[in-house]
């Protein structure tokens, strides 16, 4: 028996992602470079979802950055905001809070692994993002059971896939072999250099 409520059709959300307009894919503002104020976009989205405007502290902490390496995270937040602005979710007027939480921190892991635009151009990544949003809002795609939704999300889960790659036993064996090799006398004798660096 499902304990979660039924949400919109999955295809509705993936189609919406595929239709993401250029404005949401534009460069986010970082250090006066870029075009889009991510905090302002998120704030407007949350208002339309029935929530409140972001406080300046919320906006500064979670939706803006001076660090160049945060660009993909901000871009993904913009795409996430576009997804949240789906008519079905807007009309319910009750998902602003979980949506804010998801946008603020739920996308961090994903942003470090996958370029934001792939969540618009790649069918699997579109489905992953749509399912992640529904899971964050405690909703199920129309017509799916909890088990089905969970299984499908696991199949698509980029973060888990990355963890598996990192934690393989092969990797541990390789690291040990590398350390042994680096410690070996033959390696440490090195080769003659013409100059010191």
């Amino acid at each position: 028996m499902n304990t979660k409520q039924e949400g919109p059709h999955l295809e509705r959300l993936t189609h919406r992602l595929a239709q993401c307009p250029g404005e949401f894919l534009a460069e986010p503002l970082i250090k006066s470079r870029g075009k889009v104020d991510t905090g302002a976009v998120v704030s407007d989205t949350l208002m339309d979802m029935g929530g409140n405007l972001l406080s300046s502290e919320e906006s500064n902490t979670s939706f803006s950055s001076e660090k160049a390496d945060q660009k993909n995270r901000l871009r993904l937040i913009l795409i996430g905001a576009w997804l949240c602005h789906d008519e079905w979710l807007i009309q319910k007027k009750k998902y602003a809070e979980p949506a804010k939480k998801w946008l603020a921190s739920g996308l961090d892991g994903l942003a470090s692994l996958v370029a934001a635009e792939l969540f618009v151009t790649d069918p699997d990544r579109r489905e992953e993002l749509a399912r992640l949003l529904l899971a964050a809002l405690d909703l199920l795609p129309t017509g799916e059971t909890e088990a089905q939704a969970s299984d499908r999300l696991q199949c698509l889960d980029s973060v888990t896939r990355d963890k598996v790659i990192r934690q393989t036993r092969e990797k541990e064996k390789r690291a040990r072999k590398l350390r042994e090799k680096m410690a070996a006398d033959a390696a440490r004798e090195a080769a003659a250099k013409v100059n010191r660096e």
């Binding site: 470079r33 160049a68 792939l118 004798e189």
Partner: protein, 470 residues
């Protein structure tokens, strides 16, 4: 005049030497022995070869051609060969994989790629070395720790051999084209340290021309005067060394007529450069290179700037947040690419600062603030080289250290230990007393946050408040 060893040729090349110099010829072994058995030779304390194999030679030659036939300037933007290199490395190295999201546009999102630092090499080398790398020929260099912090860098003999064409290219910029062959000594590498390796070698990529690393320290020679005779008999075509060693050469009045002197490891003071050029009658070239990156840039005739040498590295100046600073503004020198197959670099922060400009000739580095030369004084008044301190410290595993000699000559050493490693403060203190004297005041502190919050995450490793100058 070149001194020659008159003894009979060996029938066979010793197996150990063949392992160290697989391509050595009979002429090469004769050259090597002539250096090793020179009656004025230093006390040799190390054996090492070039470890080069026949299959490496085409790659070295291709690299030589890419340097000398470079037609397209490095220009603005990220060169296509660098983009290709990074894209190809992404599936092979975990550090690249985690820094470049799947599907990212490298040209557009370059600045948003998180930077690498020496902390990655210290703590996560297994995530840097490509997953498919063949480790069988891996060699390891321990960095000196003169200007940074001692660390182990895996390398490959073939990649090291490519530094030879780099030197040829640099010399060619000054109109110097040495003729390398088994009858000549290509180069002497000069050091001036309490303890260092001293060895002779021949390089296959230079037709078995001779080479020796020597130490201008009384303890390194059998008799007074030997060093003068040794330099005279070997007559090296050019010299490499750090400014401390070159200054010591002048102080000891060592005569030599090299075609050029290449200064490495620490910053070359313009005054010292002028004095050396006057004394030795040859160009003195400032060479900016680190163990992690390999050669980066060198001074060019008639220019204040250092020219970026190799087309397979991309140099940027970036700010603390990883953004490329506007052209000509000061930023941290950051390197991508390189030819070390075990340590591919992705926006690697060198910890050095300067301005990067690009024009039709390629990239230039101006006002480089790096590799500050510094020396210390023992309680007896003798000079202590930071290399000797670095060597003492590297016996223990740590991430960073900062060594400060105060105005009252006392010493404060702060160490950030490697995670999970304990350091013996007492042992370190004791070892430092060997260098500085038993009555030296030495304070050793442990600080797990050393360098955190500092520009580039790196502290200045050696500071002398005594106001010493070379």
């Amino acid at each position: 005049m070149v001194w020659r060893w008159k003894s009979a040729l060996p029938e066979e090349i010793p197996t150990e030497r063949m392992e160290r110099n697989p391509l050595i010829t009979r002429e090469g072994i004769r050259t090597l022995n002539s250096i090793l058995k020179n009656p004025h030779a230093p006390v040799w304390n190390y054996q090492v070869g070039d470890r080069l194999r026949a299959e490496d030679l085409p790659a070295v030659e291709r690299f030589r051609k890419s340097l000398f036939n470079r037609s397209a300037p490095l220009g603005a933007g990220i060169p296509a060969n660098i983009i290709e290199l990074v894209a190809a490395m992404r599936p092979r190295s975990l550090v690249f994989m985690e820094r470049i999201p799947e599907g990212a546009s490298l040209e557009r999102d370059w600045e948003s790629i998180p930077t690498m630092s020496r902390e990655d090499i210290v703590l996560r080398i297994d995530d840097i070395v490509p997953l498919d790398a063949d480790l069988s020929r891996m060699i390891v260099y321990e960095t000196s720790g003169t200007t940074g912090h001692a660390l182990d860098v895996p390398h490959h003999p073939c990649a090291m051999a490519k530094n030879h064409p780099v030197l040829e290219y640099i010399l060619a910029q000054y109109g110097v084209a040495p003729g390398f062959g088994p009858d000549v000594t290509a180069c002497l590498n000069v050091g001036a340290e309490e303890h260092t390796v001293v060895f002779a070698n021949v390089f296959s990529v230079w037709n078995d021309a001779g080479f020796a690393k020597v130490n201008i320290h009384p303890g390194s020679w059998r008799r007074e005067g030997d060093i003068h005779q040794f330099f005279q008999s070997l007559a090296p075509l050019f010299l490499t060394g750090d400014p401390v060693a070159f200054a010591q050469m002048m102080k000891w009045e060592i005569a030599a007529r090299p075609l050029a002197m290449i200064s490495t490891a620490v910053e070359l003071n313009p005054g010292l450069k002028a004095r050396l050029e006057e004394r030795y009658g040859c160009p003195v070239i400032d060479y900016y290179s680190t163990t992690e990156t390999g050669p980066i840039a060198c001074s060019l005739p008639g220019e204040d700037a250092l020219g970026v040498i190799c087309p397979d590295i991309y140099v940027e100046a970036i700010d603390d947040d990883g953004c490329t600073v506007a052209e000509g503004e000061v930023g941290e020198i950051t390197v991508t690419g390189g030819r070390n197959p075990f340590v591919p670099l992705l926006r690697y922060r060198t910890g050095d600062f300067g301005r990067v400009v690009r024009d039709e000739r390629g990239a230039r580095i101006l006002d480089l603030k790096a590799r500050q030369a510094v020396s210390f004084i023992s309680s007896s008044g003798s000079m202590v080289h930071p290399l000797d301190i670095g060597r003492t410290l590297r016996l223990s595993p740590f991430v960073q250290s900062q060594f400060i000699q105060r105005r009252d000559k006392s010493i404060d050493l702060t160490i950030r230990p490697a995670p999970g490693e304990s350091m013996g403060e007492g042992v370190i203190e004791e070892r430092l007393r060997f260098l500085f004297g038993v009555d030296q005041v030495i304070r050793v502190h442990m600080d797990e946050n050393l360098g955190k919050g500092e520009r580039g995450g790196k502290v200045i490793p050696f500071i002398c408040e005594l106001g010493q100058a070379l």
